[in-house]
Each structure stands twice: as structure tokens, then as C-alpha cells.
Amino acid sequence: MSELPGFELDERTDAQPGLPVLEPAVAEPPPRRGMPAWSRPSVWLPPLVAIAVLAGAWQLYAAHNPFVIPTIPKIFDELTSRPDFYLRNALTTLQEALVGAALGMGIAFLLAVVMSYVRIVERAVLPLAVILNVTPIIAIAPALVVAFGFGPTPKYIITAVLVFFPFLINSLIGLRSADPLALDVLKTLNASHTEILWRLRLPSSLPFLCAGARICVPLSLIGAVVAEFVAAGQTNGLGTLIVTAASLSDLPTIYASVAVLAVIGIALFVLVVLIQRRLLVWHSSANLTK
């Protein structure tokens, strides 16, 4: 007999006669002390069921269509038959992603520092950065291969270019987010630009830098894999492995590589979140990511 969504009418004995009491239909049990949230079945059971259902559907479909997707045991066999081979290729791709990300994020941050102090640099550079961002940068990948060959250099460049813009914007907003009244206090103390940057602007920007890293680190993995697609051949790496396997219609190898990429992606993301929690104990966002 519920008349309002989420509420139900309940005639309680302690309520005034004839006056129904509005109460939330789902009473949230108070969180029990000493028990982490993930240990409650209501937290871990739903995603587990979802994964099980998905795996079942995959398996069912793969059993009848082996040329569309391989069965899960087949992927597993492929992975366990030559783990060092996958590890070697994974390390190559991971290295490309991390070097590219460090390069792109580093340059973006330094440029944001300059831009936050010198307006004219911002006016000059920001439109270029926007153009770089809206251009599907993968399009220049073949040109980079022509210029730099099949070595790691074009992979670093593509990955760096991919993460550059999101990190530039996050850094710029972060550096500008400093409390203007705290800035006033430092200015009346005649603090230098470096002191203001180091003691106020940089720590104020940390929540934004962390948010940027959460976008850019997974993006760097995409950059490295796609760069390997274009410049497959000389060096190895999971992207190279995938295109080579595709040309041989070797589905288990492709999905095994994808599985390894997923594990790397999760590991990188968890790492970023852990660093963020460490850096931002003082910030409310540190509690939101739990």
C-alpha cells in the first residue's frame, strides 16, 4: 500500500491514532564497527554474481561459436602454457605506457605552471593544446613511424600526446584553485613566487593532479597498445602480439593478451588510487574513493 516511492505507510502503536507515520521502506542497518565494508555479502556478492553470469554466457556462446570467441579454458591454457612470453610482452607495453605517461604528464604540468603565471603563454598555448586534443592523434602515428622507425620512440610520443591535454587542463585548474584569502596572507608576508607555488599552489592542485592521473594512467595504456598496432613489427609488446595473432586468426592469443592488459590496467588504477589516498589524507576526496 505504498503511496510514495521509497516510503511506506505504517501505523505504529506509539504514533497518534489515525496518523500514519512516514518511514523509509529500506532501513539502512547501522555500519557495524570493526568490520570493513567489503566483508559484508551485500557488498561483494552482487559483482561476483554479475561476473559469474557473464562468464557463463561467454562460455555458452563460445562453445557453439569457436570462431567468434574462444572458450575460457582455452584462453587460460594459452596464458599458462607460456607465461614468461606474456610477461615479457606485458613489460614492454607497460614500459612504453609509463614512459609516455611520465613524459606527457610532466611536460603538461611544467607548461601549466608557466601558464598559470604568464597569461600570455596561456593565451598562446591553450588553443594549440585544444587543437591537439580534438585531432585524432592516432592519425599521425604512421608518420611518426616513418620518422622514428619501429623502435619505442613513436610509442612514447603517441602515449605522451594522448595524456598531455587532460593533464594540462587538470594541472591548470588545480594551480588556480588556491584559496585567494590564503594567497592574500602570503602576499602580505611578501612571499616569493616560488614560495607561493611551493607552499600554496602546488599542494592546492594535488586533488586535481590526482584526478588527472586517474584519467591519464589508463589512457597511457591505450596509447601504448594502439601505437604498437600501427608500428607492429620490430619490437614486441601486447599490441604487437595482438595484431600478429589476428593476422593468423589466433583468437586465444588475442584474448589472453587482452586479459593481461586488463590486469595491468587494474593494477595501475589501484596504484594511482593508493597514491592519491596517501597524498590527500587532508582532502575530502580521499574518503569518496573508498
Binding site: A182, D184, T188, L189, R199, L200, W282, H283
Partner: protein
């Protein structure tokens, strides 16, 4: 009328001299004056409060004295020096409208901040700094030195902001409605704390407020400003005996001053209509 809190012979001994200051903001082609022809003398060790309706330029005046805004005309000097030199010598302590504490620093590290930047004036040996922990204890914050600002109540955060301004012992303190954002009871408590701390070390203070009772309880002189453009309307010396405590607000004299200032403010407000 030249509103002054002392005669010109005191000028040499004045902590703060504001002389014929004009400040405007561009609006279209013209410049709209925010404050016009403002002159003020604050003798050393006096507590001077500026009060006035919103938009009368009190905060603008304070920001000029703090060196955060440039004047269009007129001069400001602090202990005979330009504002820039006073700021370079760390002679100015600012308590802004909100506590503006750095959330990633503990209370103690927030109070240490002024000692960590622009270290040149500290190194010439002429200054003695208070021990940050001792300052925090004198503000009743001895038990929270290792907490972060987010773990403190609003009133405590304001106390930390005031302690931060006291710690490097600047000869002049500028306070811009420092208690505007806290509730009435906390505000009264903070006022009495400030009163007792100020009476203990007698710094020159320029204080900006909306509150008439706050102005009277704290000040040696109340400066009433009127708006459009911001000018000084009247300077009222507060002759209440010192040291004062919270009981001062119950005296007949206090109420008489309150009435007088209220009438002036009402007239200044009407004058702008």
C-alpha cells in the same frame, strides 16, 4: 573636514598614516570611485576599527593598507615606510575574512607558515619570534596543535588564523571582519579573547567590522565610513577605561556610544539613498 585620530604633530609617532587616498574601479569608460579622499592616522599601539555599511570601501581600504591593492591617488605609510617596504620587512599581519588555513597542514604547521616564507627579515636578528606552541597555548589551542583544520570547529579555526598573524610579531595587524562567519555566541567569545590578548601586547590594529558592539568593545577609536563613494564620515574616540572585559558591554557609557554610532550609521546610510 580632515578626519584624524590625532593632531599632525603625532604624525611622526604614527603607526599608520593614510593620506588623501582615492581608489576607483573601471566601469565602462569612466572610473567609479570606491573610496575617495580618505585620511586617517593611527597612533602606535592603538586599536582602530572601521565600521560602515556594505559597499563603503572598508575592505578596499584594508586591502590597500595590506599592499594587496594599489592606490590611484594619495599615500599610505606604515611606521614611516611605504606599504611595499613594510610588507618586505614582514611588518604586516593579516587576518582575512575566512580563516584561510591550509587544509593539508596541521594547526601547528599553519601557524608556522609566516616563519617559513620571506625569511630575510627574520635573519637580521632584530626580531624575536614567539614560540608557535606557546602562541597556540595562549589562544587555548594547546590541545589541538597536531590536528588538521577540518577537524576543528569554526571558532577554533578563526583562533588559529589569529594566532598565525601573532606568531611572527608584526607591529601592525590588519583584521578584515575576522569573525563575520561564526555564530553570535562564538563571535562574542572570540571578541573577548582578542581583547585580552591585545591588551597583553598592544599591537597597532586596523580592524574592519559590521558589528557596532564589537567595534566599541575592542577599540580606542571607531571610524565610521559612508558609501558611494566611500569616505570617512566621523571618527569617534572610545574613552572606555582599559583593561576592559566582557562586563564593559553592560555599562551605560557603552550603550550611549552604541546609540551614537548607530545614529551616525543610519544617517550615513540614508545619505547614500
Amino acid at each position: 573636514m580632515e578626519p584624524e585620530t590625532g593632531t599632525s604633530s603625532d604624525q611622526a609617532d604614527s603607526a599608520l598614516v593614510i593620506d588623501g587616498v582615492y581608489k576607483g574601479y573601471p566601469s565602462g569608460r569612466a572610473r567609479v570611485p570606491v573610496i575617495e579622499n580618505v585620511s586617517l592616522l593611527a597612533p602606535r599601539g592603538q586599536f582602530v576599527t572601521v565600521i560602515g555599511p556594505s559597499g563603503c570601501g572598508k575592505t578596499t581600504l584594508l586591502r590597500i593598507v595590506a599592499g594587496l591593492l594599489e592606490v590611484d591617488r594619495g599615500t599610505v605609510s606604515i611606521f614611516g615606510e611605504s606599504v611595499q617596504r613594510a610588507s618586505a620587512a614582514k611588518h604586516i599581519g593579516l587576518v582575512p575574512q575566512s580563516p584561510a588555513l591550509l587544509p593539508w597542514r596541521t594547526v601547528l604547521d599553519n601557524v608556522r607558515l609566516p616563519l617559513q616564507v620571506n625569511k630575510k627579515p627574520d635573519s637580521d636578528g632584530s626580531r624575536s619570534h614567539a614560540d608557535p606552541i606557546a602562541v597556540l597555548k595562549s589562544f587555548g589551542l594547546g590541545h589541538v596543535v597536531n590536528r588538521r583544520p577540518a577537524q576543528l570547529s569554526g571558532g577554533m579555526q578563526h583562533r588559529v588564523a589569529i594566532a598565525r598573524a601573532f606568531v611572527f610579531d608584526p607591529p601592525i595587524l590588519l583584521m578584515d571582519e575576522p569573525f563575520a562567519a561564526v555564530d553570535e555566541l562564538t563571535r562574542e567569545m572570540l571578541r573577548h579573547e582578542l581583547l585580552s590578548i591585545w591588551q597583553a601586547n598592544k599591537k597597532t590594529v586596523l580592524f574592519v567590522t559590521h558589528s557596532i558592539s564589537e567595534a566599541i568593545a575592542l577599540s580606542d577609536v571607531v571610524v565610521i565610513m559612508s558609501a558611494n563613494p566611500g569616505t570617512i564620515r566621523k571618527v569617534i574616540p572610545i574613552g572606555l577605561p582599559r583593561p576592559r572585559n566582557d562586563l564593559v558591554e553592560t555599562t551605560e557609557e557603552f550603550h550611549e556610544l552604541e546609540r551614537q554610532i548607530r545614529i551616525e550609521l543610519r544617517d550615513s546610510w540614508r545619505g547614500t539613498k
